[in-house]
Symmetry: C2
Subunit: 421 residues, 2 copies
């Protein structure tokens, strides 16, 4: 993989040019993209021209001219933006999304758009898992996770509404960072659920996602440099824990054990009972808002919507405002309960997904370990580094308190370092 932080440092030191960094991506793309299919559109020639013309200026900016991939639900005025849907084939938005502009303002070069499931829901795109082409890369940010895993990009952006950053990051063996809700604006992204959609970052390690997130947002998020303090970790074994595979359970236990060895405090915690209601509330909010957000597509192009999304929208039409309001109230209560739970710990350690990437490309896997945290707006990090017996990546998830993104990233790096020792 390409380390964004390493490339940026070398560019900053004058040891590498932005053009040469683009060439590293180009080499990996030439070798791997045909089999992986991470991109919907790719403009290497244009990226080279930008790096040549503006390389010196870009090298002085936070992203230092690094190539960035954008999930194809981010509007881009200079690339087709198809939302993974046949309804939008060839669509060229008039403007960039806010996050697209943030990448460019930070000195990133948009190299291409990455494959998304249809409207960032479940119906999959063409992407294969770089670790085994018979397995899903996860979704909905399939292409962003796979492109980073294959060394084709140092940084890619995606979004999470259920588990669409943490799950593909786990399946593909890269670091994934879903920040606190709202940290990166969703303006100009195709909306599914305005209370859930959250922009996230993929890169090769926790330090790399933190670097990229700091560069893009202008917030102090980097955690490279001095070793992070030992965190107080709460380990979550109750539901949905039983859904985790034996291999995943072992991975989380390894992460806990090695963290203890390195000095972390690890205690067992249980979710407050309200969280079972909140888990269901996620579905209610997701469906109700999706039915509003995709109203035009559903009302005018229902027959061109994929089977899984069509079934959801057919059903979602009957979610009442009362059920939705109740789900929102449950969410507020659950957030308070989680804040209370976390008063004595820094982060929660839990699986990123039920197990390694499932075989087959018809499903992108389950978000059962992610939906609650998306609803809570909590910062989540997929920590890579462990693998199944068959060599597929197994990620563990570090969940922090809302608004404590830096601390969550630091704790995730602590766990990542502990696993690697």
């Amino acid at each position: 993989m390409l380390s964004a932080l390493d490339l940026a440092r070398r560019i900053e030191m004058g040891e590498l040019t932005p053009v040469a960094a683009i060439e590293l991506c180009a080499e990996a793309i030439a070798a791997r993209e045909a089999e992986i299919g991470a991109f919907t559109v790719l403009e290497l020639g244009r990226a080279r021209l930008i790096a040549e013309a503006r390389g010196a200026a870009l090298a002085a900016q936070p992203l230092r001219g690094l190539a960035v991939g954008l999930k194809d639900i981010f509007d881009t005025a200079d690339f087709p933006t198809e939302y993974g849907s046949p309804i939008y084939i060839g669509y060229r938005p008039r403007a960039d999304a806010a996050a697209t502009s943030m990448v460019r303002r930070a000195g990133g070069i948009v190299l291409g758009k990455t494959v998304t499931t249809e409207f960032a829901h479940l119906d999959p795109g063409k992407t294969r898992n770089p670790h085994n082409f018979k397995h899903t890369p996860g979704g909905s940010s399939s292409g962003s996770a796979a492109a980073v895993a294959a060394g084709m990009l140092p940084v890619a952006l995606g979004t999470q509404t259920g588990g669409s950053v943490i799950r593909p990051a786990s399946y593909c063996g890269v670091a994934g960072f879903k920040p606190s809700y709202g940290l990166i604006p969703t303006v100009g992204l195709k909306c599914f659920s305005w209370h859930l959609d959250t922009v996230g970052v993929f890169a090769s390690s926790v330090s790399d996602v933190a670097f990229a997130a700091e560069a893009i947002t202008g917030r102090p998020l980097r955690i490279d440099g001095t070793a992070p303090a030992a965190p107080r970790i709460g380990m979550l074994r109750n539901p949905p824990w039983p859904e985790a595979s034996n291999e995943m359970m072992t991975a989380v236990e390894i992460a806990a054990r090695t963290s203890i060895t390195e000095g972390a405090g690890v205690i067992d915690i249980e979710l407050p009972s309200i969280c079972a209601d909140a888990f269901r509330a996620h579905g209610t909010i997701h469906d109700y808002e999706g039915y509003q957000s995709l109203a035009y597509e559903y009302d005018h192009h229902r027959d061109r919507i994929g089977p899984q999304l069509r079934i959801l929208l057919d059903r979602a039409a009957s979610v009442t405002p009362e059920a939705y309001d109740s789900a929102r109230r449950t969410t507020r209560r659950a957030r308070q309960a989680i804040a209370d739970l976390m008063s004595e710990i820094d982060v929660i350690l839990t699986p990123s997904a039920p197990g390694a990437a499932p075989e087959g490309l018809k499903s992108t896997g389950s978000s059962t370990f992610n939906r609650l945290w998306t609803l809570m707006g909590a910062p989540c990090v997929n920590v890579p580094g462990l693998a199944s017996d068959s060599g597929l990546p197994l990620g563990v998830q570090v969940v922090g308190r809302f608004g404590r993104d830096h601390g969550t990233l630091a704790a995730a790096r602590f766990v990542e370092d502990a696993i690697a020792l």
Copy 2:
């Protein structure tokens, strides 16, 4: 003016057809639009065709085939959508906004797009105040307020980020309803500030806006029928009250006095001191988010942005994430303080604007009486019915608690009835 509720009842009873209701709009448009300039685009022929082809089906739906105008920041796949900006001349979005779909799902016929200030900020469009063409109609929802005031539409939608629903409603002498933040989704609207932008409704009276809001949202909001209970009203005289004209002060006092006569309890209240900070926080959030939301336009077309917005965006580039986060924390504290303040009252009575519509078309007036309530996410209603010595409308504002939209509308109708007696 055309009463949406009256037209809807007559259609429901079979006394009027949707086609005939469209013709009432057409007559007023023929008589007045040339001078007022409320529309950016108008499709009377198409509206007639829809009413003729689908009138019976529409008559059975909540909006009963009534004509609706949409502020030209609502995306529409079948009308140009120009956001009040030369950058978007001729732009035709690929999809409808969620609120556009809600109007259509409710059986409304979109008759046209209404004039907005540039990107719903301050640089004005062409619209004149129907009560005096030398005066502003207010902004940013200029066309929606003016079209309803001139009897050209029974219902129009707008948005409020500062005071863009309540102020033009006051200046034009119509009812304006800015619901609780988030009640109507902003998906597919041109975003200025995602924590502030709120979709609102214009109609001829409080009962009419409540009818339209219920029809569009599917929520129980109607307050016609039995007379509303006498509310407990808090009257707000401290800042920014001194900015109100003598005529506006008198209007609010008349509203209070007549409400007392009809049985309401009215007490003087003072804003908690945190509200002065919150007032400033509105500006910080507005500017910071506007600089992200309009990043593409600013970075690529700065010279085609109007003078007031350009100055704002130039300045907004330097708002830090720390200042923004602090403004968000202030907002949370102020919301709690306002909730405490309102524990003993149902609504707050305060001016809708500093006075009647100012002379001149270069400014759309001041949102000083609106910005705090937008930030609080509180439901607000402009109650029409009073006028200045020169015959210009003076609206009074009824502000409720977040989420208590029905109660706020009911209290506003109580005040409206009291004024009229």
